[in-house]
């Protein structure tokens, strides 16, 4: 089982040769953040542009359209304007009438009839004075309706276009972020694989080093014994064996540094 696992690891270490430094993930994250900032900025510019257009519309309505429109109404350029002028003139005329003076009641002896006539005159006076107010209110309502209608006609396409542009931009940025995030995720996984692989390789390297030292120690020992055994002179043999061991110690010291 362990051998199988080892074989798999060996295979992985060779096949999973993709490599990426940690900074690639950091860079990908920075790119993602930059994309998000760009989107915010881009959308803000779009909103500012359309806000400017809306201001232009309001200014145009206040400075140009409404004065021209009211002028057309007052001067009776259309049927509605002419009707308004006629009713306005009538309203003014009726408002000026002194109804009590206009109707002679001196010759009427019956006091009840006089009272009834006076009440009727008062009702007419109130109604006719109110007529001027009604004309002005109707004028105001219709003028306001037309102004609002015109403003809407100008603003609706601007608002629809703004919504469309923002929608398109958001969809574009969403695609961009999805792609970028996917790349970031992939890079992160490559970094993880690289880290883990490096850790295992390091561990293997250290063990190899240990084994190499052990092998060389055995070899040095054997060499020393051979030198010692093959030497005719004991002192010379001991010196040669010690030299061999010293040499091994030097090499072992360098290898473990």
């Amino acid at each position: 089982m362990k051998l199988k696992l080892a074989c798999a690891t060996t295979a992985l270490l060779f096949t999973a040769c993709a490599s990426a430094p940690k900074q690639t993930v950091e860079l990908a994250e920075a790119v993602n953040q930059q994309i998000a900032h760009m989107q915010t900025s881009h959308e803000e510019f779009v909103r500012l542009y359309y806000s400017g257009l809306r201001s232009d519309v309001d200014e145009f309505m206040a400075q140009k359209w409404t004065p021209q429109f009211l002028s057309n109404v007052i001067s009776g350029q259309g049927e509605g304007g002419r009707q308004f002028r006629a009713e306005l003139d009538r309203g003014y005329a009726l408002a000026k009438v002194d109804w009590a003076d206009a109707v002679k009641i001196e010759g009427i002896a019956d006091s009840k009839t006089v009272t009834a006539i006076k009440e009727a005159i008062e009702e007419v006076a109130v109604r006719e004075r109110g007529e001027l107010g009604r004309v002005l209110i109707d004028f105001s309502n219709e003028a306001q309706r037309q102004i609002s209608l015109q403003r809407r006609k100008l603003l609706d396409p601007i608002e629809a276009q703004e919504a469309f542009v923002l929608r398109e931009l958001r969809a574009g940025y969403a695609d961009l972020l999805a792609g970028s995030s996917s790349i970031r995720g992939y890079l992160a996984s490559v970094v993880k694989v690289t880290e883990n692989r490096d850790a295992v390789v390091k561990k293997i390297g250290l063990l190899d080093e240990q084994r190499s030292l052990l092998d060389s120690a055995i070899s040095a020992n054997e060499d020393a014994m051979n030198v010692l055994g093959g030497s005719k002179d004991l002192k010379e043999g001991v010196n040669a064996a010690v030299a061999k061991l010293k040499d091994w110690l030097n090499r072992a010291g360098k290898a473990t540094k």
């Binding site: 993709a18 145009f60 100008l154 931009l169």
Partner: protein, 86 residues
């Protein structure tokens, strides 16, 4: 009875046609020319799926190497020996 000033409103629009044209939004063509070209949704999705799959594979490999690392020196030693043979 109320008034109707449709005629006067239309007349006003005719009189101010030139200025009205200046405050209308961009045309569809102008907008399309300004907007970034749309990514091919289907292709993008396919690519994302491929990359995600590769990411998933890498995660499995990373998990496996972690587990192997945690198994200790025996397995690693065998791996080392195998590597040396290879």
């Amino acid at each position: 009875m109320g008034f109707n000033f449709d005629e006067e409103a239309n007349l006003t629009n005719q009189q101010l046609a030139e200025e009205l044209a200046k405050i209308t939004p961009m045309t569809v063509d102008e907008i399309n020319a300004l907007l970034p070209r749309k990514a091919d949704k289907q292709r993008l999705q396919q690519l994302i799926e491929i990359v995600s799959k590769a990411e998933s594979e890498n995660k499995k490999i990373a998990a496996l190497t972690t587990n192997i690392g945690e198994l200790g020196g025996v397995v690693v030693k065998v791996v080392g020996a195998l590597l040396k043979v290879v």
